[in-house]
């Protein structure tokens, strides 16, 4: 746009991009009041307090919704304008309960500020006022409609930002109010309880319910930190009063989330102050846990581990690190296992979610992480989501994707076995049979090559082994793929064209791709597809695996994996090993370390004697839980560090109390490789300690020196030994963090990988052939069971299930069954059903839903009362060793 100049209150301002009068005025420092404006939302112009005079206009115009134009003469400060604004505020006040003295919003209320500015204590206009009962039928959102000024921000944010459409204006005229369809409880609507409505409400009409009566705004202390739930890594502010978290908010201008949060981020903090938190070390004596001192516990652990190491060798010990802990703690953990214990037997739950991503993308591109950034979806012209229930598992990314789809005309292709929320917004929605992804992706490539839509220059210049790929995918005609996957051939063709021709297409996937015995193959296929069409290394493109845990990326980066040190430096690479031996001042092991499932197999077989677990709960998260139980029982010695006495900790010989994210400093690395700070907001409960401190103490007691003053000091060491983190030092992180690779102290970080060349040089096409899942339905087990996440719960529920409201919204495991299958078995929503696989049997409540397709049953894995992982198949991907959580054969019967 060519530069334009306008005058505001006699002062000239020049603009080089399209802007509203409101934005232009703020450039000059001219303040125009607003009530219905939120920068996250489209201009609305309804409250009329931002009216300004524009020369030549018939009537005053709303500054928030009127674009500045060249030569415009604007006046914001005339007597007439102030009179009109005052009239508007008087009208609002005339229907507002003036109970500011007790209102939770007092001190941060836009209406209060305007009343103050215009010196309004009571309205000139007398008349009827609303008198409605506050809406309190859900656990999170206190809705006081008497205070509502009907600015519509909540309605619009629910639509434009959250894409949830749970509320709207009801009734007309003075009787207008915000509400749900037929006044139903929010629990019975599409409300996702993200609380975005609360975050935008300018007055006290919407308040976080848990915050009520917990202190005035000015009494609260704010600590900026990073959310402890999924891999998106939202920035949030913990608001504390007297050492207790009383609320969570998100600043509008910081972080990947820009003020938005999901239900867990905004409301899921009760677990921090749960009475069930571990407060002191516990030692099991005669089968009972007894409280112990730290000294006693550390001494016992060091002694027992040293014994086992002496007797059975270091490789009889294994450690499980944690994707919930900080980078610093993961670094210290693997250093402890490798340097102090002397084995590479260290792994963590990334094995169960994205080990196939790390393996697959590393061989194809040379780097196993999300190639592009979250903000990058805004530049996408087409987005292919395959195997990701983004709206429930990564709510803030779902917001960004749908923003691009709904408001920027990006096309959306969703390929998922279920009819998920994203399917409803898709231009093309396809449903594959679980486990048929390789065939589907090969089929897409078949169409692209067949129709000549591949990017020949890109293939020529940036990749290798294309001919082999071409030959292989030639076998996957759409008709053949239809046979394997159930996706109509024409649907596949349209999807292929849409993806290949958009100009900037992004692939988004998650565990629907990775958690298969063909997980690595699936990942390689996504890489093939992106390279084939040149959709990588540019804005809006890429292969974008969404990581599940807050710091699963970081835990991998830090080397909590058996085959690599931090920064993916291979343990079997001698120069890397020598470098770290020097840095850590000890000899390092050369064994091929064990993976998570192999550790459990080792435990069961007796090869593994001692296990040290930091913050993981394999008793719920691993496949075939009965097998895990046997392994844990058989161990000679088990140490668990956690914040709760988890299902796994119950098997431990020693349990050590750890601190939550709110009680420590450190860094998390989110799914887009952004290293972000977490900051201590409250004191640890009881005698709980940061994990790194505990590990250092055990290490010292075992005779290997690890001494650090602070988490920052550890990060310095990480930077010094990890090339991709070389420039990521405490002083540089600031509010927004840094995206690796960031090799040097002057490097700005890397939002998009593989721009000029791939990390490995040329991108490598792989020949991938379709293999069926390890277990397929048969006459005895006729259905397919697939597992996954819910929005309102998280992982094994240790955090979310201790937040009352979250548990209230989704309290029990539901088995999602298609109408078709339910009818066949005479099952209705609410019926209890028995689910049985070759591993085990559980009972759960049925939910008959259109989300599930014929023959496919879905179950969340968050609930210990109905642990889905009793049923799942531990069959492993041969390369990444990831278990096949997403497909196993199942039978269902109605329980009485």
């Amino acid at each position: 746009m060519t530069e334009i100049t306008l005058s505001i209150n006699g002062e000239e301002v020049s603009l080089d991009k399209e802007m509203t009068i409101l934005e232009a005025a703020s450039k000059l420092g001219v303040e125009i009041p607003t009530l219905c404006h939120d920068p996250r939302l489209k201009p609305y112009g309804a409250c009329r307090v931002c009216l300004v005079e524009v020369e030549g206009a018939r009537a005053p115009l709303p500054a928030c919704a009127t674009n500045a134009a060249d030569g415009m003469v604007v006046k914001t400060d005339t007597e007439e304008i102030h009179r009109l604004r005052k009239t508007v505020v008087e009208l609002i006040i005339s229907d507002h309960p003036l109970d500011c003295v007790t209102c939770e919003k007092c001190g941060n209320c836009a209406l209060q500020d305007l009343a103050y500015k215009y010196d309004i204590t009571e309205s000139e206009f007398k008349g009827e006022k609303h008198s409605l009962e506050p809406q309190e039928d859900d656990p999170f959102i206190h809705r006081d409609l008497d205070k509502c000024i009907l600015c519509g921000r909540c309605v619009r944010i629910c639509d434009e930002v959250e894409h949830a459409f749970a509320i709207d204006f009801n009734y007309r005229g003075f009787k207008t109010q915000i509400g749900t369809t037929y006044g139903k409880s929010l629990k019975d609507t599409t409300c996702e309880f993200c609380g975005q409505c609360i975050s935008t409400c300018p007055v006290g009409a919407l308040i976080e319910k848990p915050r009520l009566d917990k202190g005035r705004l000015w009494e609260l202390e704010n600590t900026l930190t990073t959310c402890p739930y999924c891999g998106v890594g939202c920035t949030l502010e913990l608001q504390t009063n007297n050492g207790e978290i009383v609320n969570v908010s998100a600043p509008l201008d910081i972080g990947v989330n820009g003020g938005n949060l999901c239900v867990k981020g905004r409301f899921g903090y009760d677990f921090v102050s749960s009475t069930e938190r571990l407060k002191t070390p516990l030692i099991k004596k005669n089968g009972e846990f007894q409280e112990a001192s730290w000294d006693e516990a550390i001494k016992l652990i060091a002694g027992r581990l040293s014994d086992i190491k002496k007797k059975h060798g270091p490789d009889s010990i294994a450690g499980l690190a944690s994707a919930k802990c900080t980078n610093e703690e993961n670094y210290i953990f693997q250093k402890f296992i490798r340097a102090a214990i002397g084995t590479n037997n260290v792994d963590h739950c990334a094995r169960l979610c994205h080990s196939s991503t790390v393996a697959g993308l590393a061989t194809a591109f040379g780097s196993g992480a999300m190639t592009n950034s979250i903000s990058d979806f805004a530049d996408s012209k087409a987005i292919l989501i395959i195997g990701s229930n983004t709206s429930e598992a990564h709510p803030i990314i779902h917001i960004e994707i749908l923003k691009a789809v709904r408001f920027k005309d990006a096309k959306l292709i969703v390929i998922d076995p279920r009819e998920i929320k994203m399917s409803k917004f898709a231009d093309i929605s396809l449903h594959q049979r679980p486990g048929s992804d390789v065939a589907v992706l090969n089929g897409l490539m078949n169409v692209i090559i067949d129709e000549g839509l591949e990017d020949k220059n890109f293939i020529e210049e940036r990749t290798e082994h294309f001919e082999a790929l071409k030959k292989n995918v030639a076998n996957y005609t759409p008709e053949k793929v239809e046979e394997i996957s159930g996706i109509p051939a024409d649907g596949l063709r349209s999807a292929a064209r849409m993806y290949a021709t958009s100009g900037a297409s992004s692939i988004v996937y998650s565990m629907g791709i990775t958690q298969h015995t063909t997980g690595t193959d699936n990942v390689l296929s996504t890489a093939n597809l992106a390279m084939l069409t040149g959709n990588i290394g540019r804005p809006g493109t890429g292969v974008n695996p969404l990581r599940g845990q807050n710091n699963v990326q970081g835990a991998c980066d830090m080397g909590s994996l058996p085959n690599v040190y931090s920064g993916y430096q291979k343990t079997d690479d001698e120069s890397s090993r020598n470098k770290l031996e020097e840095a850590w001042n000890t000899d390092l092991p050369t064994n091929k370390g064990l993976t998570v499932v192999e550790v459990m197999n080792g435990g069961a077989s007796g090869d593994v004697k001692g296990v040290y677990i930091m913050g993981e709960n394999p008793m719920l998260s691993d496949p075939d839980v009965s097998h895990v139980e046997k392994a844990l029982e058989k161990l000679e010695f088990l140490v668990v560090q956690d914040i709760f006495l988890t299902e796994t900790a119950a098997f431990a010989d020693v349990v050590l109390p750890s601190v939550s994210f709110a009680e420590r400093d450190g860094t998390f690395t989110n799914t887009e490789r952004r290293v972000q700070r977490i900051r201590k907001a409250v004191e640890p409960v009881g005698n709980a300690k940061e994990d790194w401190k505990t590990l250092c103490a055990v290490s010292m007691a075992m005779g290997y020196e690890m001494l650090y003053e602070s988490a920052d000091e550890i990060l310095e060491e990480i930077a010094s030994v990890t090339p991709s983190y070389g420039g990521i030092t405490p002083d540089r992180l600031g509010q927004d963090g840094l995206q690796w690779p960031c090799p040097t102290s002057d490097h700005p970080g890397t939002p998009i990988l593989h721009q000029e060349k791939f990390t490995r040089g040329l991108g490598k096409f792989h020949v991938v052939t379709y293999r069926p899942p390890a277990e397929e339905p048969d006459a005895e087990y006729p259905l397919i069971l697939t597992t996954g996440r819910l929005l309102n719960q998280f992982h094994t529920g240790t955090m979310t299930r201790k937040t009352e409201g979250l548990d209230e919204i989704y309290p029990v495991a539901h088995v999602e069954i298609s109408r078709f299958d339910a009818k066949k078995m005479d099952i209705k929503t609410g019926n209890f059903v028995n689910l049985e696989t070759r591993r085990g049997k559980i009972k759960a409540k049925a939910l008959v839903t259109d989300k599930s397709r014929k023959g496919v049953v879905f179950m969340p894995f968050h609930f210990k009362e109905a642990a889905a992982n009793i049923l799942t198949n531990p069959a492993l991907d041969p390369i990444a060793k990831i278990p096949e959580f997403k497909v196993c054969a199942l039978k269902i019967s109605k329980a009485d």
Binding site: P43, Y44, G45, A46, C47, R48, V49, L51, A59, P60, P62, A65, R83, L84, T87, V88, L91, I92, S94, D95, E124, F125, K126, G127, E128, K129, I149, L150, G152, D168, F169, Y171, R172, G173, F174, T176
Partner: protein, 608 residues
């Protein structure tokens, strides 16, 4: 061959057309008469419905106010014996007869086929030239030429805002978009306006053809008719019209063998006045709550689903085929300098001939009300005409010579609106009238912007305070100031014009406001709290009719006793007055003192 037609517009149906048809059928069948029984739409003489036309030997005789009881005579004397019944004739050949004055001064373009054709039979429309214009456009004119022609005609939007139709077409034609839409705004919502309904019911093809021509001109292939669901007959006839037009090849693909495709879909509104506002209307079609949004962007560039969209009102579209057939010049020759062509007015209220009249723009109020409309009912005195619906204004007797066109009315504080004229006599209280329209505006406010949602509520409360008799002069000042602020600060046309009835009544009838405030009397004896209903005992014959008809049991008394009114219960509906055969009940103004005391007791909390 003789033919008998019955008027079956909503007005005819409401007056009992169905019973008349049944009676005709019976009479024809029983006497085995060879005559075709048909139906037709509304010719505008709504006050004379049920109208029955007898056509023979190129002569058309229209009987008015026909009841089933009159049918045997019409059949036996006129149809069988050929002797017209002079005293029942309303019109002869559409020109002579008792109602000739109503018809004579009209010049019909929009209504040219209404009341002549069977609206449910496309062949009738075709016989009278229907779909000739689209043929002409496709065969002889480029799209640009059609736009030019409509521009040259000077036609302005008949929905109220009066934007030049040709310009709107040009903007939409020039806008770029994958596809474009034509929307016919048939959400006629002004109280007292029913011309669109009548056109849709009586000649749906005029509108369909107008949309077709618009589609051809603009390059649109899809049309929506947004019709209020309260017009079931219009919806039914539109649906029939669309089906028949499809069969005839006027709608669908390759219309009349050309490469022009056009399809029309009906969307029924759910009864919100604000959905007549174009952006709210589009939101409603999109399945959203009907709330207006800011313009720009204008629908011409970003309308329905974000595509360029041209929205025209029913009456506007019904003009189009005439303009194409007869040429822009013929149209531009009618009317005034800036208001070309005719306008259809819906005459209601205290006027003798209530119905639809189509007259050239620029005719004076006096001519419309007295020459066409026959003057005031019951020989009462004219007081004002409320023109332009709830967004318009009230014009007093001193302005009767105002020419009716877009600009002259705005100058006087009213608007042409969609052409509703509610004629008022001395029995109307102007404050009460303003209150009525403010109640309407408040009920229909979508709630989006503060001035309209809360401002109209507060204005309504101030008006109630005045009509209840306890307002002060400061209240009147506040009312006037608030009305002015709401007018400039509201978001859409509804709020911006809602204060008009208040502002014009204060401007032209201030003394009535002052009477309510200073003297606590209602000069028109309308405002319940300011009047007494008096039963003159000397005239009362104890018939009990008033007791039986009082909806709130405010009258007591037994047979052979004088009836008595209980003032506290009376709601002032005047039902008793209208049913009293002895003229024993009438209204009176009580002493101001009494009112004040009475109303201080009942003043709602917080109002003083």
């Amino acid at each position: 061959m003789k033919k008998v037609l019955v008027g079956v517009g909503s007005c005819g149906m409401a007056a009992g057309a169905k019973d008349v048809i049944d009676a005709l059928k019976k009479e024809i069948d029983e006497n085995d008469i060879e005559i075709e029984l048909g139906m037709t739409g509304c010719i505008g003489l709504c006050y004379r419905e049920v109208l029955v036309d007898v056509l023979d030997d190129n002569k058309k005789t229209s009987y008015g106010n026909v009841t089933p009881a009159m049918v045997p005579k019409i059949v036996s004397e006129h149809i069988v014996e050929g002797k017209p019944i002079d005293e029942w004739i309303a019109l002869e050949d559409g020109l002579r007869g008792a109602e000739q004055d109503f018809i004579k001064s009209q010049n019909r373009i929009v209504l040219r086929k209404c009341g002549l054709i069977d609206p449910e039979n496309i062949e009738d429309a075709i016989t009278l030239g229907g779909y000739e214009a689209i043929k002409k456009a496709i065969d002889e004119m480029s799209s640009d030429k059609v736009v030019e022609e409509v521009k040259a005609s000077g036609l302005r939007g008949r929905g109220g805002a009066g934007f030049t139709t040709g310009l709107k077409w040009e903007f939409t034609r020039k806008a770029s978009g994958e596809k474009k839409y034509i929307i016919c705004n048939a959400d006629e919502g002004d109280p007292g306006a029913f011309m669109d309904r009548s056109v849709l019911e009586s000649d749906p093809h005029a509108v369909l053809e107008g949309m077709l021509i618009a589609g051809y001109a603009i390059g649109a292939e899809y049309g929506y008719i947004y019709c209020r669901a309260e017009y079931p007959l219009a919806v039914k006839r539109l649906k029939m019209g669309i089906e028949q037009a499809k069969k005839k090849g006027f709608l669908g693909d390759n219309i009349l063998g050309s490469d022009f495709n056009f399809n029309i879909q009906i969307k029924e509104g759910a009864g919100a006045f604000v959905c007549g506002e174009e952006t709210a209307l589009m939101a409603s079609i999109e399945g959203k709550r009907g709330m207006p949004r800011l313009r720009p962007p204008f629908p011409a560039t970003s309308g329905l689903w974000g595509y360029p969209t041209c929205i025209n009102n029913v009456e506007t579209l019904a003009n189009i085929s005439w303009i194409i057939t007869n040429g822009a010049k013929a149209y531009a020759d009618i009317g005034t300098k800036n208001s070309k062509g005719n306008k259809v007015f819906a005459l209601t209220g205290k006027i003798k001939r209530s119905g639809l009249a189509e007259v050239p723009m620029g005719m004076t109020l006096r001519e419309i009300i007295y020459d066409v409309g026959g003057g005031i009912k019951d020989e009462k005195e004219y007081k004002a005409v409320q023109i332009g619906g709830p967004t318009g204004g009230c014009l007093p007797a001193s302005l009767l010579d105002t020419p009716v066109d877009y600009d002259s009315l705005i100058e006087k504080g009213a608007t042409l609106g969609s052409g509703g004229m509610v004629v008022l006599d001395q029995s109307t209280c102007m404050v009460d009238l303003a209150k009525y329209f403010m109640t309407f505006a408040q009920n229909e406010s979508c709630g989006k912007c503060v001035p309209c949602r809360v401002g109209t509520k507060r204005m309504l409360e101030l008006l109630e305070k005045i009509t209840d008799g306890f307002a002060t002069l400061e209240d009147l000042e506040q009312l006037e100031a608030l009305a002015a602020d709401v007018k400039v600060s509201s978001l859409c046309g509804l709020g911006q014009t809602a204060p008009n009835p208040i502002l014009t009544t204060i401007r032209y009838f201030k003394e009535e406001y002052l009477a309510h405030i200073e003297e606590r009397t209602c000069p028109a004896n309308v405002c319940v709290n300011l009047i007494d209903v008096v039963i003159e005992q000397e005239l009362c014959r104890q018939c009990e009719l008033c007791i039986k008809n009082c909806p709130v049991d405010a009258i007591t008394g037994a047979k052979k006793e004088y009836t008595e009114r209980r003032p506290d219960d009376c709601i002032g509906c005047k039902m008793c007055i209208s049913v009293c055969p002895w003229d024993a009940i009438f209204t009176d103004s009580p002493k101001a003192e009494g009112v004040k005391v009475k109303h201080e007791e009942t003043i709602p909390k917080g109002m003083l």
